[in-house]
């Protein structure tokens, strides 16, 4: 399988009251194309920090992160912005959409930033909204959508730019069970149909059981890395 993310020895240290605290401590991570991976762990374990580092939103204090062979830790700020635009899709916990734009404009915006033509954008919007089941909400503003619908549009937006992988930071945290299941169904479908790699941080057991690989973080270190088939898991790497 093709390697998408290769992180070597990455550490991130925050100075809290002049005492260094390891948010991420010497982490090695290898993600391949088409993976559906959950990052789990208690609050403050470093899940979001690890996603931010992989997504190029933050820089590690040591170590190296390669995305499709590109060392993103060596990229300059502007290059990193461009890299994110072309290679990474993001779904955040909440407030994922620009409130003044309609659902389709939110999705179209990122494609415009990439310089896609209008026809190409419209075709992609039609496909994506079909996949997320919101064809009838194209012209709705985020405030007119439910939390679950907003997250589905956020997934469509994350995929709009045809990224290498999608990072989702607790995507179901604010959703009810039905909406969370629907969102996970869509992500699983896109993972299957488009071979899209998903990495998501979560506390939610409903989400964890859908992942095919579960990486557990505690105090900034990976304590386990297990492969799962449905709800049955097989330990492949760590403890």
């Amino acid at each position: 399988m093709k390697t998408v993310i290769d992180a070597h020895n990455i550490s991130k240290i925050y100075n809290k009251d002049k005492i260094p605290v390891y948010a991420i401590n010497n982490v090695h991570l290898h993600i391949e194309l088409g993976e559906f991976t959950a990052l789990v762990g208690p609050s403050g374990s470093g899940k979001t920090t690890l996603l931010n580092l992989i997504g190029g939103l933050d820089t590690p204090d040591s170590g190296k992160i390669e995305i499709n062979g590109t060392n993103i830790t060596a990229l300059r700020s502007n290059e990193l912005i461009d890299f994110r635009l072309k290679n990474i899709g993001f779904v955040f916990q909440s407030f994922n959409l620009i409130p003044v734009l309609t659902a389709q404009e939110n999705v179209s915006f990122i494609m415009e930033l990439q310089g896609m033509s209008k026809t190409e954008r419209q075709n992609r919007i039609n496909t994506l909204f079909g996949q997320i089941g919101l064809e009838d909400k194209l012209n709705s503003r985020p405030s007119q959508l439910s939390g679950g619908q907003q997250q589905r549009v956020a997934v469509a937006r994350a995929l709009a730019s045809k990224p290498q992988f999608v990072l989702a930071d607790e995507p179901t945290a604010n959703l009810d069970t039905a909406s969370a299941n629907k969102l996970m169904d869509i992500m699983a479908l896109l993972n299957k149909e488009e071979q899209m790699t998903f990495i998501f941080s979560t506390h939610d057991p409903r989400v964890i059981e859908r992942a095919r690989r579960v990486i557990t973080l505690v105090d900034g270190s990976i304590v386990s890395d297990t492969a799962q088939v449905n709800i049955h898991s097989t330990n492949v790497h760590g403890s």
């Binding site: 931010n52 997504g55 939103l57 933050d58 502007n78 912005i81 461009d82 890299f83 994110r84 635009l85 072309k86 990474i88 993001f90 955040f92 407030f95 994922n96 620009i98 409130p99 003044v100 734009l101 404009e105 179209s108 915006f109 990122i110 415009e112 930033l113 990439q114 937006r157 730019s161």
Partner: protein, 404 residues
């Protein structure tokens, strides 16, 4: 899309944006009204100078203005008048005999300029008859009549019908004097000139100073102000031996005032917009701070700094420019009304206005020639106002912004 986002963003907090738009509208209205009033005042002053004081052009002997000696006459003055009246650009011509002298009454005396005029000509070039406030003006059946200004009349306690003595030197440097009766008291928009100038018949002054039928001054009024330079050039070519001056040279203080007022009005406009800029900065800054997470999200997606700056610039621009048409329309409508009806300031500063030679009724004129500069000021204000909020936005790191 950036246009769409920025336009919609300014309506996210309608009240806040409307307050700023209204401030821009009122600021622009105030600024344009200042320009319009200045323009009206200056046009009125220039009109007063040309049509009530100096005419467009004057011809003198080159030495005359040095000490106003009666000997410095315009030789063949009347034949020059006859020739230049044929110029199609020239509307009317008047001749004057001018000398410095003294006005004396039983109670006192005052230094004055004695103007010997042909009443019919003078009425056409300086509307002397229209300025008369008391009395009836020159009576063709009477002799030795004088018209004096109201300020001089008040100073010398003179009324119509009173007698006075005018003293001056003749062409042989002898002191000569003659008694005159006040036929009328006039009042112009220029009190200092009213205090200084008296008018008698040209024939009587010429006889007094002994210059026969000669004249000292030819005053020319043109059909169109725009012909001034061309006619002056023509006259200079035709009569190089004489001093030919336009109103700007005769009344340099007016020309200077026009230039100064232009600069002053721009400074006032700049101050108004500069003050407004702080309101705009405040609004934009609040907008940016409220949307920190959203901006972080857009940066995370891959929106680069140039696009982010353009977004902030467009928002500031829309916020600033939306109020502009309201301000422009308001000022256009108000100047339009007052251009016809005038703003009467006579109850608030007649003395002051008159002492500077200004009409007490102001007719503001919409400064259409300054409209582009004004709009440029507005755009510059928007650009200036966006710098600090944009810097704040650009300094955000996505990872920090997303935590907010």
């Amino acid at each position: 899309m950036l246009l769409k986002i920025s336009w919609r963003n300014i309506w996210r907090n309608k009240m806040r944006s409307l307050v700023i738009m209204l401030s821009v509208a009122i600021g622009l209205f105030a600024g344009i009204m200042v320009l319009a009033i200045y323009k009206g005042v200056m046009h009125s002053r220039i009109k007063t100078v040309i049509y009530a004081e100096t005419g467009h052009l004057q011809i003198h002997d080159t030495s005359f203005k040095k000490d106003y000696e009666p000997v410095f006459i315009i030789r063949n003055g009347l034949s020059i008048v006859h020739e230049i009246q044929k110029f199609p650009e020239i509307k009317t011509v008047a001749t004057r005999t001018v000398t410095m002298g003294m006005l004396s009454t039983t109670t006192g005396s005052s230094g004055i300029q004695i103007n010997g005029v042909v009443p019919e000509q003078e009425n056409l070039v300086s509307q002397l008859n229209q300025k008369i406030k008391e009395g009836a003006g020159f009576n063709p059946n009477k002799h030795h009549e004088v018209l004096i200004g109201k300020k001089l009349a008040n100073k010398m306690k003179l009324k119509t019908g009173n007698k006075l003595v005018l003293t001056c030197t003749d062409s042989s440097n002898n002191i000569v004097a003659s008694a005159f009766r006040v036929a009328a008291i006039y009042e112009s928009d220029n009190a200092p000139l009213d205090e200084k100038n008296v008018y008698i018949r040209q024939t009587e002054l010429n006889e007094l100073i002994g210059i026969g039928k000669e004249i000292h001054e030819i005053v020319i009024l043109l059909h169109k102000d725009e012909d001034l330079k061309m006619v002056q050039k023509k006259l200079n070519n035709q009569y190089p031996e004489y001093l030919i001056e336009n109103w700007k040279a005769i009344s340099p203080e007016t020309d200077l005032m026009v230039g100064t007022v232009d600069i002053t009005s721009y400074i006032i406009m700049a101050i108004i917009l500069f003050a407004l800029a702080f309101g705009i900065i405040n609004t934009m800054l609040m907008g940016i701070l409220e949307r920190t997470r959203e901006i972080g999200m857009m940066m995370a997606w891959g929106m680069n700094r140039i696009k982010l700056f353009i977004l902030v610039l467009l928002e500031t621009f829309f916020l600033t420019i939306t109020g502009a048409p309201i301000g422009l329309f308001l000022s256009w409508a108000v100047t339009g009304y007052y251009k016809t009806h005038g703003i009467n300031w006579s109850s608030r500063g007649k003395e002051m206005m008159s002492s500077f030679g200004f009409n007490t009724t102001i007719y503001p004129e919409f400064p259409d020639e300054k409209l582009m500069t004004t709009l440029l000021f507005v755009v510059l204000t928007a650009m200036f106002s966006c710098i600090y909020p944009a810097m704040k936005a650009l300094k955000l790191k996505p990872v920090d912004a997303l935590r907010k």
